[in-house]
Amino acid sequence: MAQAMTTPDAPPARTDPQPPRLRTRRRRPAPYLLLVPALGTLALGLGYPLVRQVVMSFQEFGLAQQFGTADPEWIGLDNYADVLTDATTWAVVARSLAFCLAAATLTMLLGTVVALLMRQLSTAPRIVLQVSMLAAWASPLVASLTVWNWLFDSRYGIVNWFLVTLGFEGMDGYSWLANPWTFFLVAGVIVVWMSVPFVAFSLYAALTQVPEETIEAAQLDGATRTQRFRFIVVPTIRPVLSIVMLLQIVWDLRLFAQIKYLQNAGGTVSETNLLGTYLYQLGVAQSEYGVASAVAMLMLLLTLGLTFGYVRSLLREERTA
């Protein structure tokens, strides 16, 4: 912070040898003014709800309080006690963590493979690949969810038809969403499909920064392909790898739209809730705003806990860079 405060008004000493007293008068407001819209929007859009959420998590707050027919009652840690002693919460947390880590890992692996592939391809096929990935990345959420849902439709879906054609007779009319395991398989495919382009593009950009000379030198010294990847490529792109992984974990932990859509299309809600949909169910569907706030706080802590290591290592890299 201290560094940031002094940078803008630190003039080149050679041309501007004014005493500090005058310097403070000439302090330039523009850089700070430029921060105001971002900070202001952040405070309005996130700050207020966050404060409200913390307050509500200690209150009895339902529909009656929302309509003002009853006053919100301070109940201390009761909401937290309810949430933490409820087996449903832990099942949801475990499910969310497992799904988040599995989806994020798979996304990273596939994204890296595609990025490496893009480096090897000649221009024409690479552009085709890039355009199709951009299309996947840019297609509107609900539109692509609808298409995926049709693909996996138990009666008219092409996936079942294809499996039956391959000889899996048992897949005729199979309901993918009815069983929680296949539900998450479908959800996983959709989530990974939607996230791979971002990872692939980011890593592709990072890969272009790997110095050719170093690779060549290593090659001359007899380093194998694997060795070159492990000891030269990965360390060079590590900052990008870790920030993309961090983002993936945050995104996959707060999944909502995909899961909600599939639940509406036939999933068993109580067995497929992840943190995002569980929160929605408590807060919006059941109007238990107080309890939902407590779960949201838990989710916030969980996200911070999961990403703490990454953020720290990112900061460290920034400092050494």
């Binding site: 430029l34 929007t41 439709d153």
Partner: protein, 415 residues
């Protein structure tokens, strides 16, 4: 430097302008009073009726502008939860599903209409809708329209199989299986039974005298595992296995699609589903009320809506004038002519006398509502019933699952 400052100011202004976009532009148009009416569903109230309402209301009440907004059923509850509690956002008059009314009557979201009921007519019904709209002996919401679920069938399929429309429930079950067996088409359903379609499936429970939950003393007691309910569930499960090829995780939405595709001989749906059947199939389409165990009509799930005035609305008088217009003879007649059961029974005959109108009226005669608990909406929004029927259709042990879901229902209803 100066430019930068200007840029920054511009940034601040635009950020503020963006956040201000969400605020309402109510009453902005000079002098006219905007009255907001929220109707549920994208097409449940036909266009003809809303156009008439707008024209008539603005003609009768000078200086008003009636704005009708249609809210999708899936979004209705969340939208109402936030809008009704805020005088700046609230609709003045709003429609709500009959079974959803108790959630909002119990928290004071509606204006009390007890003293004004007489001004709406002396013969308002159905009684079960009024009960759903009452709380603490006060009348908060009144019936908007009732609808009922009945069976649509292909006359040709029946003729080909050499059978008649059934007279009782056992006959119906038998006919559904026969229709499937006699058809050569692959994946053909005698009766379309999606696994999660509890709104139609519940008829089998009701028909055998079962129920979802009943109030005993102060507490709600789940009745899915009662012997009567289990009997109905077993019958429905047999239908799902032997008469239907619908997905076990299928919903009650768009059940006319397989019928249009020639893949089902019968489906059950609210009366307006008739208009979703393709035109070239219209001559082949017939309708009858689901028959009861001993003949007559089986008790089906009573569809329909209530309507009321938001307590937070600043235009109470204008809102009541709109309610009166909805209860006017002309509008009641229009509802009936469009196949929606009118709140004023004098107009029920306007629904016509073809087989569809008869099926609708017969089905409504014995229709039942879901438990009138303020917490019932939670059962719907968390899809407890969909899950339960889906599991039964999927092959779970019926008695065990029923007991498990009775406990889930009790936990929600007795909050």
């Amino acid at each position: 430097m100066k430019n930068l400052t200007r840029l920054a100011v511009l940034g601040v202004v635009s950020a503020l302008a963006l956040t201000a976009c969400g605020s309402d532009s109510d009453d902005a148009s000079g002098g006219t009073t905007v009255v907001k009416l929220w109707l549920a569903g994208e097409k449940d109230t036909p266009e003809e009726l809303t156009t008439w309402l707008e024209k008539e209301y603005e003609a009768q009440n000078e200086g008003t502008d009636l704005k009708i907004e249609r809210i999708d059923w899936g979004e209705l509850i969340p939208r109402l939860q936030t809008a009704l509690s805020d005088a700046g956002q609230t609709p003045d008059v709003f429609e709500i599903g009959n079974t959803q009314s108790p959630t909002f009557t119990s928290v004071g979201a509606f204006t009390d209409l007890s003293d004004k009921l007489a001004d709406l007519g002396d013969n308002v019904g159905p009684e079960s809708f009024l009960e759903a709209g009452a709380y603490d002996d006060k009348q908060f919401a009144v019936p908007y329209y009732w609808g009922s679920r009945y069976v649509f069938y292909s006359k040709k399929a029946f003729a080909d199989a050499g059978i008649q429309p059934p007279a009782n429930l056992a006959d119906f079950n038998k006919a559904a299986v026969t229709l499937k067996e006699k058809s050569d088409a692959k994946d053909f359903s005698g009766f379309w039974v999606p696994g999660q379609d509890w709104r139609n499936g519940i008829s089998w429970i009701f028909a055998h005298g079962g129920d979802i939950a009943v109030q005993e003393g102060d507490a709600w007691v789940g009745k899915l595992a009662s012997p009567e309910s289990l009997k109905g569930l077993q019958e429905w499960k047999t239908l799902s296995d032997k008469a239907s090829t619908a997905p076990k995780d299928g919903l009650d939405e768009e059940s006319w699609v397989p019928f249009n595709n020639g893949e089902a001989a019968m489906f059950m749906a609210p009366g307006w589903a008739r208009w979703s059947v393709e035109e070239d199939k219209a001559a082949d389409l017939g309708g009858f009320a689901l028959p009861g165990v001993g003949g007559g009509a089986a008790p089906v799930f009573a569809g329909g809506s209530n309507i009321g005035i938001s307590a937070k609305s600043k235009k109470q008088e204008e809102a009541f004038a709109l309610l009166q217009l909805i209860y006017s003879d002309e509008y009641q007649a229009k509802l009936a002519e469009n196949g929606l059961g009118p709140a004023n029974p004098d107009f029920t005959s306007k629904m016509g006398d073809d087989e569809f109108a008869q099926a609708s009226i017969a089905a409504a005669s014995g229709s039942k509502l879901t438990p009138a608990s303020p917490h019932w909406t939670e059962v719907e929004t968390t899809k407890v019933m969909e899950e339960f029927f889906g599991k039964v259709a999927g092959g779970a042990d019926v008695a065990k699952t029923a007991a498990e879901y009775d406990a889930k229902l009790e936990a929600i209803l007795n909050k």
